[in-house]
Each structure stands twice: as structure tokens, then as C-alpha cells.
Symmetry: C2
Subunit: 373 residues, 2 copies
């Protein structure tokens, strides 16, 4: 992997770059769509290619359980198995394993730490995390080394070391202990990776919750190691103010010459705030999930497609939009398909929202090149 900085804005920390990978280039800042099981929901990888998505995020945890890493390895790796020619990034599997214990990020935040997940995390030790497969009940030990081995077999262009994901609501001492272990796990992951780089890049994941001192410690510890890039992970705050504060503080502690990624954030207001702070890539399932719930992204705040006011809107979602959905179908037809509970609706809405994100990032890159943001 090679990271090339094309232009640094004169107005902010924003920059336009190119991440060159064995499967092609990612223009940054970039939106990274989430295709958990090797497909974006309701879209084929062929459609995603036509829309021009440059980087797709797949989840090692899910692929580990179904179809199993062995199947993907025998297929010749994930690109070949899912027939995606463009770049892929996989995570370590840790995020989902720990979500099983603590509940999803949103549930944990809402419940103020009281509500635990109903999942099957059995034990966390220095060695790794032991969990039970939801598919067949088998016990699986996820270690830094086994996660990296899985990601070698998957063969994504960018991989992620095993980390622990402590919840937002955690005692300081616990967070500190977790951070230290995460650093040891990341070092072991890196060592395992470097034994067989396999033309893959690995991003260190900065932790420390919302504690500035711990975030600083994490940046110092991990930037001393030869990671190819850095992701900001862990709890990034309970709202957008905390998120902005955290990124403002953390981002300058990361090396400018390496690409950085913000894990799990991809709503429009956050991207707008964080591009000027110098974030290069954002992954989120928000745009495609919103589409499936009938929320269409537009330049004036979005459209709730099930609203009866769209029953007779015989124009496309946005007149200027060049996506296949807007090219062919009206809001009234989409409204009808949603009302009639046709899955075609989910596909057409997802096409639009994904195309919207790709265009939006293209627009941001143009603005940065002109020092407008």
C-alpha cells in the first residue's frame, strides 16, 4: 500500500489523497460501505462496482462463522469469493465479539451501561477472547494471531489488529487495563502480520475511550510501531460534540503521512464536521440501513419515502442525481414499492443512498482541492 497526498487544504486539516492498493486506488476522503457478509444489503457487488464504491468493509467475525474462513481461502480469497475487483478492508472480529458482551454501541449508550448484550462472550484473557458461535454453539478462541491468520486467508487490502472494545460506561482503571492489553494485542497482531505481509496493509487502532490522556498514550504507543495507517476506534463519545472533541484532540497526534480511518461513523453531519479535521476514510452502515428503512439521502435533509405526500411525486428523488434509481424511477413509484413491501424498494433506495455517499465524498474532495474546506 502507498499513500499519496495530493493536496492539503489551506483552510483546515483536510487533505485529498490516494491510497494505492493491490486492487486499485481509494480517493480520500472516502466513504467506506459495510458489506458484513461479503455483500452490501440488497445490492450485488456488480451494482456496487457500477456505483463506484472504492472501499468495502467486511466483517471477519461474520465470515468466520458463515461461510467459514476455509471456504473463502479455497475460493482464492474474499475478492474472488464475492467477485469484487476493488479494494476491501476487514476488521479483526473483536468488535462483534465484544458487542456480544456489552450490547451494541447504541444500546449500551442508551442504557447507561446497565444493559448487557445477550451474546456469547465466554472469557477474555491475555491470550484472547473466547466466544460461542451463534451458528453451531462451537467455542471459538479469537486471538491476535488467529484474527490475523483469518484476515490473511480473507486477503483484504487493509486489515485490522485485534483490540478490545470496552463500553462507554467504564471505570477509569478498567479502561486503562483494557487499553494496555489492547496495545499488547495490537503488537502481537502486527508481529503476526509482518511474518507474512501478503501485500496487505495493517492499520493500528487507537483506543482510550473519551479520556484524552489515554487517547494520547494510545497514539504514542501505536505510532511507534510500523503500522501502515491508523484507525480511531473504541468508544468515540456519546454524541457528536464528544466525537468532534475527541477527533480534534486525537487526529493531530497521528502521523500526517499515513492514512487514517474513523471506525463506524458515517452519518452526514459527522462527515461534514470531521473531513476538515483531517479524517481520510469513514465506514458506516448508516446510508444503506437508512435506505432500507425508507430514508433517502438528499441535499436538503432527506426524504421519508413512506410519507403520503410522495404518493404522486412523479419526479425522481433528486432531479440532478445520476444514480440508476433516479435515472429510471419516480418518488411516487418508490413510495408505492415501499407501501407494497416489495424488496425491490430496498434495492432501489440503497442504490441511491450509496451513490449519494460516493458523490458527496467526490464533492468534498473537489472543495478541498479548491481550499474551500
Amino acid at each position: 500500500m502507498k499513500f499519496e497526498i495530493i493536496h492539503k487544504s489551506k483552510k483546515s486539516r483536510a487533505r485529498v489523497g490516494k491510497i494505492h492498493t493491490p486492487h486499485g486506488t481509494i480517493d480520500t476522503p472516502s466513504f467506506v460501505a459495510v458489506g458484513t457478509n461479503g455483500t452490501l444489503k440488497a445490492l450485488s457487488n456488480q451494482m456496487v462496482e457500477e456505483i463506484g464504491l472504492q472501499l468495502m468493509f467486511c466483517n471477519t467475525y461474520h465470515l468466520l462463522l458463515q461461510p467459514g474462513i476455509e471456504v473463502v481461502r479455497e475460493a482464492g480469497g474474499l475478492h474472488s469469493f464475492i467477485n469484487r475487483k476493488q479494494p476491501l478492508i476487514t476488521d479483526s472480529g473483536g468488535f462483534q465479539v465484544f458487542s456480544l458482551a456489552y450490547g451494541s454501541v447504541q444500546n449500551e449508550l442508551k442504557s447507561r451501561g446497565q444493559k448487557k448484550g445477550d451474546g456469547c462472550l465466554l472469557k477474555i484473557s491475555e491470550e484472547g477472547a473466547l466466544f460461542r458461535s451463534y451458528r453451531d454453539g462451537a467455542k471459538i478462541l479469537l486471538t491476535p494471531e488467529s484474527s490475523i491468520q483469518a484476515q490473511k486467508d480473507l486477503g483484504a487490502d487493509i486489515i485490522i489488529p485485534l483490540d478490545e472494545l470496552p463500553p462507554y460506561h467504564i471505570e477509569h482503571d478498567e479502561l486503562k487495563k483494557s487499553l494496555a492489553r489492547t496495545h499488547r494485542w495490537e503488537k502481537r497482531s502486527l508481529d503476526a502480520h509482518l511474518k507474512n505481509p501478503n501485500n496487505q496493509a495493517i492499520y493500528g487502532v487507537i483506543h482510550g475511550g473519551i479520556d484524552p490522556e489515554l487517547r494520547k498514550l494510545s497514539c504514542e504507543t501505536l505510532t511507534d510501531l510500523p503500522f501502515d495507517g491508523y484507525a480511531i476506534g473504541g468508544s468515540v463519545g456519546k454524541n457528536r460534540d464528544e466525537l468532534r472533541e475527541l477527533v480534534s484532540f486525537t487526529r493531530p497526534l497521528l502521523p500526517d503521512e499515513k492514512p487514517n480511518h474513523l471506525l463506524g461513523i458515517g452519518d452526514l453531519p459527522s462527515i461534514e464536521e470531521l473531513v476538515p479535521l483531517g479524517i481520510d476514510t469513514f465506514d458506516s452502515s448508516y446510508p444503506t440501513r437508512a435506505a432500507r428503512h425508507g430514508f433517502l439521502l438528499t441535499h436538503d435533509g432527506g426524504i421519508k419515502i413512506s410519507s403520503t405526500k410522495h404518493a404522486k411525486t412523479f419526479s425522481p428523488i433528486e432531479k440532478e442525481c445520476s444514480c440508476p434509481t433516479c435515472e429510471h424511477y419516480s418518488l411516487a413509484y418508490l413510495h408505492h414499492l415501499f407501501k407494497a413491501r416489495e424488496t425491490t424498494a430496498l434495492t432501489l433506495a440503497s442504490i441511491h443512498n450509496l451513490h449519494y455517499m460516493v458523490s458527496l465524498m467526490d464533492h468534498y474532495r473537489t472543495q478541498i482541492l479548491q481550499d474551500q474546506i
Copy 2:
């Protein structure tokens, strides 16, 4: 509409023809896919166009209730509303209204007439059928004239008169009465149509259940009227033997110079048996429904995609198949998507099965041209 016979087989009653409509040509024998709500399930009309489906069947009953005929009329008709450039056929709405009373064809057959539908058919009279909308509880009277008016507003290339659908299990006297009323309804439908032909064709629907005398009466009565073609409807038997017998008897009573259609039958063995008997078009939701249930059509009996034996089959569904699914994806990937319950799987499987039907009918036409069937 103009029907052109290209070739009559020397070996059977099979023929190759072309139905010319205002929205293009239908090569017969042809498979007609069912897009109840103005879309094939899990496919966009753009995909369906690319696959080359020449005639799509939409259901007036469903469109009447959602989005409502007024919306479609304001959109400029169904072709415009759903953005389909190729031919469309709509039914009268009667089939669904009567299914509400008698239960679906399969349930009625299974229950030997004991089980009724739980629907909302309120009253059948000489005037028409009164039913309650499942959407808003409103009472709707479907008459020959209102059905034709709805189909005028929808603007399909081929429309169907209102008929009653008596169940398979019915007393002879009841069936006779129903048939007489259906004939009166069809005549009224035709009269309403002829007041405003609107460049649409109308097919008379032959009834009479499995009673040869009544079928004969129906053919005589309706072929005396200037319908543009004929559909074989009503109960067509409880199994394939009864179906074949019925078509063998009925088909020769229909005029050769007009196109004919078999309503609601489209499984592979039936098509294979009935093409030589001279059926021109077949509609069925079977191929797309089978796809959604993970059954893929192939030349050697089909594939149950969820079977574990396909977990590592890294070749396409069929090597010779030129559909977008077989072009891009392996059985192993499709197996994985079904196991992971990704709706993408439904789309990819539906593409294959629809393409299979289009290719199959093309193959039958070639065989007929060569007098092989």
C-alpha cells in the same frame, strides 16, 4: 394488436408466433412473469428488461388497492408509472377477489373444498363482486365495467374481462350457473372495452372447470364474440394429468389465428407438455417464487441452494448460462448469501430463474421451427 404465425410444427399443434403490441413484440410460445405490484419480486424493471422478458403480468386487484388506479392514471399509465417500455398484461381483479372467498387454488385443492379463504368477499351479484379492501376496510364493487375502466387507466397492452372463479370442488349446477354469469360478465366487459379500445387487446377467458361439456360451451360462446385472443382460466384440474387432458380438449376449440394464454401455469413439466398442445403464453410466479425459496432452475432438475453440498462449489449455477448471476457469482457464494439471509441472494437467484425461463422459451421456439416438437 396483431398476431402473426411464423411457423406451425409438422409434429404437433405447437406454433411459433409474434404478438405485435404498441409496446413491442412478444415471441411465442412465451413465458409471462408475474409482477403483481408493478415489479417482479426482488428485481427492478430495468433488470427485467436486460434479461429480455417480453411480457409482464400485473394484478389489477393489487394496483387498485395500492397505489390506487388514480395515481397510475396521473402518472400516465402503468408503463410510465413503473417505467417498463415492453408489453404488459393486466387481469380483471376477479381472480384475487374470488381467492379471498375460496382460498388460494392450492389450499382449496388440498382441503377438498372444506377450507374457505379468510378474505373479504362480501357479496356476488349479477352486477359484480363486492369486497372489502384489506388496506383501509373500504367496500369496493368490482363490476365488468369498473374492471375494464381500471384496466383502461392502467393501459396494459392486453386486458382481461371480469370472470368468476369457482373453486375446483363445486356442484355441477353451481358451476353451470357461475359459467353463465361469467359469460354475461365477459360480454359486458367486451362491450365496455369496445367503447374505448385505446389500442389495447382483450382476451376472453374460457371457463367450465374440468367439465368438458361446459368448457366446450364456453369456447363456443366466447369465440362467437370479437375477443382478440383467448385465455384458459378457472380451475384447470387438480394435477398435471387433468390439466393436460383439459388443454388437449379445449385448445382445439379455440381459433388458431388468435393467440391463446394459459392462466397461472408456468412450472417446467407443464410447459413442456403444453407447448406441443399449442399454448402460446404461460404466466406464473413459480420461477421467481422458487428463486426466493432457494430453488434454482437448471437443465438437470434444479438446485436447492441451501444444501451444504454447494458450500464449496466455486463454479456458477450452470456453466453454459449467460445470465448476470452465472456470469459473476459462484454457487458457493449464492449458498453463503442464502445461509446469511442476505436479500441480495433473492435478487441473484431471481435473475437466474427468470433468465432461465426466457432462454427455455427461446429454445422451444427454435425446436418448433425445426419441427422437433
